[in-house]
């Protein structure tokens, strides 16, 4: 695996480079991807492209295929047909190292309740082979504004605090591809604003951010692209001035045949 080393200061995506350049990429292509779970079609012949330095918003009703698409991009779910390419190469060609360039914040938060906030970040930092995990942990705790709760067990945290910690867990290894499922869940206004600023920072640093959400207010003005999903089919919407929610409603009311 290519170890991620701090080149400048901890806590900034731009300060870290993957020493193994073969596992980095600046573009992700979803090519004619379908995914079926038994007889149920979760995603149908979907083709999308995501480029570095962008935030794409995934919108759609429950069961539309948003989580399946995130799962496919994370490599956890395999397509029934079609292919996901990272920098033009299929996942199989990049091997296990590819996962070191992907960060996932799921609806379930991937945190150990019996470990403290610091221990959670340290465990994942070490698991991702970071050369100085303690520095990354300190930066992550600062970003999450959890320095004073660093040694408290996660089981005592509110949903919002867990969400903030889980985001830093997903970002601790400075991933190129950032996949977020409902990142604004449980966050108060101030935390939601800070998350939006964090995501803009990731975009400026060259990350590819893909975010599934139902929170149009938080996503408005943040996402560069709007992708709507309906019954496993994807459609990209060109932004206009009517706002995300209005565009979404119009799109969903249209016929997708």
């Amino acid at each position: 695996m290519g170890r991620v080393q701090p080149a400048q200061g901890a806590g900034r995506l731009t300060g870290f480079v993957a020493t193994d350049s073969t596992c980095d990429f600046h573009r992700v292509d979803v090519v004619e991807v379908s995914r079926h779970f038994g007889r149920r079609r979760a995603l149908a012949k979907t083709s999308l492209t995501f480029s570095a330095g962008s935030i794409a918003g995934l919108f759609g009703p429950n069961g539309a295929g948003k989580s399946t698409l995130l799962g496919l991009l994370s490599t956890l779910v395999r397509p029934t047909s079609g292919e996901v390419r990272y920098g033009g190469q299929p996942a199989a060609a990049l091997g296990d190292a590819l996962r070191g360039r992907i960060g996932v914040l799921g609806h379930d938060l991937f945190l150990y309740n019996d470990l403290t906030a610091r221990e959670n970040l340290l465990f994942f930092g070490e698991l991702y082979g970071l050369s100085n995990p303690a520095a990354h942990v300190a930066a992550g705790l600062a970003h999450a504004r959890l320095e004073d709760r660093a040694n408290d067990r996660v089981s005592g945290f509110s949903r919002g605090l867990r969400q903030r910690l889980a985001l830093e867990r997903a970002l601790i290894h400075q991933p190129r591809l950032v996949l977020l499922d409902e990142p604004f869940t449980g966050l108060d206004d101030e935390s939601a604003g800070l998350l939006a600023a964090r995501l803009r920072g990731l975009r400026e640093a060259g990350a590819i951010v893909l975010m599934a959400t139902h929170d149009f207010e938080s996503a408005d003005g943040l996402v560069d692209r709007m992708i709507c999903l309906k019954a496993g089919r994807a459609r990209e919407i060109t932004a206009d001035r009517s706002g995300l929610r209005e565009q979404y409603r119009r799109t969903m009311a249209e016929s997708w045949s």
């Binding site: 956890l76 992907i102 698991l127 991702y128």
Partner: protein, 226 residues
């Protein structure tokens, strides 16, 4: 990152979580001791145990408490879907299997350290007759049992009926391991001990271990991919 380094990190995390909660240690130990105690009332008459009972009951307690530990260990990874986070780590997925296996082996070894003297006490079993051989049989048998069990428990982590399915899948496959363990231990505990036979059973257990663990390492990645 090497597989062994990642496996060690996962095992160390599991042991730290267990040290905090002690949930698995208490439940498996209590279950194993209760099992042995109940059987002692049935198989020990006037201070003398039925021939061969001690070895059988020791392995029944190991298997049953091990099944309990397997289920609970993966239940923890299910609660916040942390198993998915482990599978997303940039190391071979076999590291997740190995890490969970090491953690379970450490836990089961701790239970057996308490269990064996209790069996010796209640059943009058000569546990000090060939301690290294007995330790080897327990270590090899536990590895074979937990090796298969870790794979099945991981596969079933998202199944609705996982608590029912785990023993249904696990026991038929691990019957040879349990039988070899019982026969080997029985050869040591017998009134007329046969340590050569125990050594042969140990060799068979080591063979099972190699087969089971290698097969599990081979299939873990494909079976964990959705």
């Amino acid at each position: 990152m090497s597989v062994l380094r990642a496996a060690w990190l996962i095992a160390r995390k599991d042991l730290l979580v267990e040290a905090r909660s002690r949930e698995l240690a208490y439940t498996t130990l209590f279950f194993a001791l209760a099992c042995v105690l109940v059987f002692s009332f049935a198989f020990v008459q006037e201070g003398k145990a039925v021939e061969g009972a001690a070895a059988g009951i020791l392995w029944v307690a190991v298997a049953f408490s091990g099944t309990l530990a397997l289920g609970r260990a993966f239940e923890r990874e299910r609660q916040s879907e942390t198993l998915r986070a482990l599978l997303l780590a940039p190391s071979e997925r076999a590291a997740v299997y190995l890490g969970k296996l090491i953690g379970l082996l450490a836990l089961m070894a701790g239970v057996e350290v308490v269990l064996v003297p209790i069996v010796g006490l209640l059943f009058g079993a000569p546990i000090g007759r060939a301690p290294l051989l007995l330790g080897g049989l327990l270590a090899a048998g536990t590895l074979g049992f937990a090796g298969v069990g870790t794979l099945f428990a991981a596969m079933l982590v998202r199944a609705h009926s996982r608590d029912v399915l785990l023993p249904l899948l696990l026991y038929p496959i691990t019957v040879p391991v349990i039988i070899a363990g019982v026969r080997g231990t029985g050869s040591i505990f017998a009134a007329d001990p046969n340590l050569d036979a125990a050594l042969s059973w140990l060799s068979i257990l080591v063979f099972f271990d190699v087969v089971f663990v290698l097969l599990s390492l081979w299939v873990f990645d494909p079976v964990m991919s959705e």
